[in-house]
């Protein structure tokens, strides 16, 4: 027998390792092969590899904190508390070998598991960036939607003070005002932990002050994070004074250094680049705009929620921060909706080319696509990447290009059909999405082979 286990406890100091030892001893006593991954305060040690998991007969999770689960799909798995593993490791082995197989056949669950795993796998600069973006998104969504609602009262209704429309606009503006500081703060937080938050957020506020926008926020966040890391390493205080590092030294020095560097050195160049980018994007029209839409579409579909897709997405949200409703954001969302929608349509039009499970999954793919969750296409692409990925890339590229050509705009960063009221020129926007969806489905029908009976 070959047993794998993962142990983790809240403080990660003692029980993580005790449980690991208990499971190892019990398994060895029975002559089983065993490997235990410990997720304690030292970090992840003895990490289970894909080969380990493939060769395993059963998996034991003795964890009181969340651990990545997706990798265990298709394996017998039992999940218990750490204390259970300390109390009766022998029984645990029995139970694990008789456990039910982990993994869901439900598309929505599978998709959220994939998203979770991907965010766990993010590393380095990309991880810091996505941490900032993911904390920023709720502010953009709240601000964008509330401002869009205020426009429903009439385009200039908010100018009448004391009206609901003016309050909605003010609430939305307040949320927008926090976007860049939150972005910078949480990039810095991801780099330098809690100590990075204050210098990062202040850096973000300075970026706004300097008119450096979204781009300035990115720079400020990374700057603040690495400055705080440097301060932590460079300044060694005597033991008795160490307590003042997090409450006095780091906040003051970190914020001061970040701020001064922004003002004196990099603030103005970044502001210039930011302004040039906005001018370029807003001034872009005709062929250039269509080509940009095309590229965005290709990127959105290429890895369905992976780094390339997220790069295009982050670019889109950046244009929102620049103010007003954005054609780029509109193209990003439309292109991101097409892959699951196109696959859903294909499962209806070309039943013979999909397995029963895929046709079932197609129903959920409608919902995922309509909600702008591009990851909904992943299960189909994983089964047949060489035919599915080119099909969705072509469909998304056409939608992206059409959305730009129709000058559709969007003032919120997410939401799919639920935020269509925030879309400018929505009839043609819907047409762009429909065309891409149909093209994707037809290409799939043409490329995919019939399933063997």
């Amino acid at each position: 027998m070959n047993i794998l286990a993962v142990t983790a406890c809240p403080t990660g100091i003692a029980h993580t390792y005790m449980a690991a030892e208990a499971i190892e001893d019990a398994a060895k006593a029975k002559g089983y092969q065993v490997k235990v991954e410990t997720r304690g305060s030292v970090g992840v040690e003895n990490e289970l590899t894909a080969e380990d998991i493939k060769a395993a007969d059963a998996i034991i999770l003795a964890c009181d904190t969340a651990v990545p689960m997706e990798r265990f799909a298709g394996k017998k798995l039992i999940s218990v508390s750490v204390s259970e593993a300390l109390k009766s490791p022998e029984q645990l082995l029995e139970k694990a070998l008789n456990a039910t197989v982990y993994g869901s056949s439900n598309l929505s669950d599978a998709v959220s598991a994939i998203k979770e795993q991907r965010s766990a796998e993010r590393k380095g600069v990309y991880k810091h960036l996505m941490n900032g973006v993911s904390f920023m998104i709720p502010f953009v969504v709240a601000g964008g939607i509330l401002i869009a609602i205020s426009f429903l009262f009439g385009y200039k209704a908010f100018e009448n003070e004391g009206t609901l429309a003016s309050y909605l606009k003010s609430i939305g503006d307040s949320a927008f005002a926090l976007m860049v500081p939150i972005l910078a703060g949480y990039i810095s937080y991801s780099i330098a932990d809690r100590a990075g938050l204050a210098p990062g957020m202040v850096g973000g506020a300075i970026a706004i002050l300097l008119n450096a926008g979204f781009l300035g926020g990115l720079v400020a966040g990374f700057l603040a994070g690495y400055i705080v890391l440097f301060i932590k390493k460079a300044i060694k205080l005597p033991k008795t004074l160490q307590g003042i590092m997090p409450v006095l030294i780091i906040p003051v020095l970190g914020t001061l250094a970040t701020g001064l560097i922004l003002f004196y050195v990099i603030g103005k160049p970044v502001a210039f680049i930011n302004q040039s980018m906005i001018d370029f994007l807003t001034g872009m029209s005709g062929t250039n705009a269509v080509i940009l839409g095309l590229i965005i579409g290709l990127m959105m579909a290429f890895d369905m929620g992976g780094p390339v897709n997220k790069a295009a997405y982050a670019f889109g949200t950046g244009t929102l921060v620049a103010g007003a409703a954005s054609p780029v954001m509109a193209a990003v969302m439309a292109a991101g909706m097409v892959p699951p929608l196109g696959l859903a349509l294909a499962t209806v039009l070309f039943k013979k080319k999909f397995t029963g499970a895929e046709r079932e999954a197609g129903k959920a793919a409608w919902v995922l696509g309509a909600s702008f969750i591009t990851e909904g296409a992943i299960p189909f692409a994983a089964a047949d990447p060489l035919r599915v990925i080119p099909s969705i890339m072509v469909g998304s590229a056409i939608t992206g290009a059409l959305s730009m050509a129709f000058k559709a705009t969007l003032s919120v960063p997410h939401g799919g059909i639920f935020v269509f009221f925030a879309v400018g020129n929505w009839p043609l926007y819907i047409l762009a999405i429909l065309v891409g969806t149909v093209v994707t489905a037809l290409l799939l029908g043409f490329l995919k082979k019939n399933m063997e009976q």
Partner: protein, 148 residues
């Protein structure tokens, strides 16, 4: 050194969990390992509320991870069967208490991890119970391949 002779007490007559934690925290405070005794005790007791750190076999390992700890430490005490809500229901006679600052170095954490593993071994627990002096205990820990 994560532990020294001043962090060990082989003859305590304390009878409650909190009294033991407080007593050992006092030793750590005297050694300059803790800046704020109350804050540390609170962290350790809070950890106990998640579930008992008495792992069975008569051993408890209360621990606190808090900024009140200025240098990682390990305390050891022999006590007279204290009720610690142990997993196996038995009273506790050996206590290892751990303190870790919010941002501890990996080296210290690895030592604590290896002690935790070692405590699962019957012969190690027997040796701990047979220790008669503070210096003997230090020696036992140093000879146990724990990185101390």
């Amino acid at each position: 050194m994560i532990i020294n002779e001043a962090l060990i007490d082989l003859n305590t007559a304390l009878d409650t969990k909190e009294a033991v934690i407080r007593h050992l925290a006092g030793l750590a405070k005297k050694e300059g390992r803790i800046s704020d005794l109350e804050k540390y005790v609170e962290a350790a007791l809070h950890r106990e509320t998640e579930y008992s750190t008495a792992m069975g076999f008569g051993i408890a390992i209360p621990h606190g991870k808090t900024s009140a700890v200025t240098e990682p430490f390990l305390c050891f005490a022999k006590v007279d069967s204290v009720d610690w809500n142990a997993l196996d229901g038995n009273p506790v006679d050996l206590v290892f208490m751990i303190g870790v600052p919010e941002e501890a170095g990996t080296a210290h954490l690895k030592i604590l991890a290896s002690i935790s593993r070692k405590l699962m071994k019957q012969d190690f627990r027997d040796s701990l119970r047979n220790v008669t002096s503070n210096s003997e205990l230090i020696q036992l820990l140093q000879n146990s391949d724990l990185g101390i």
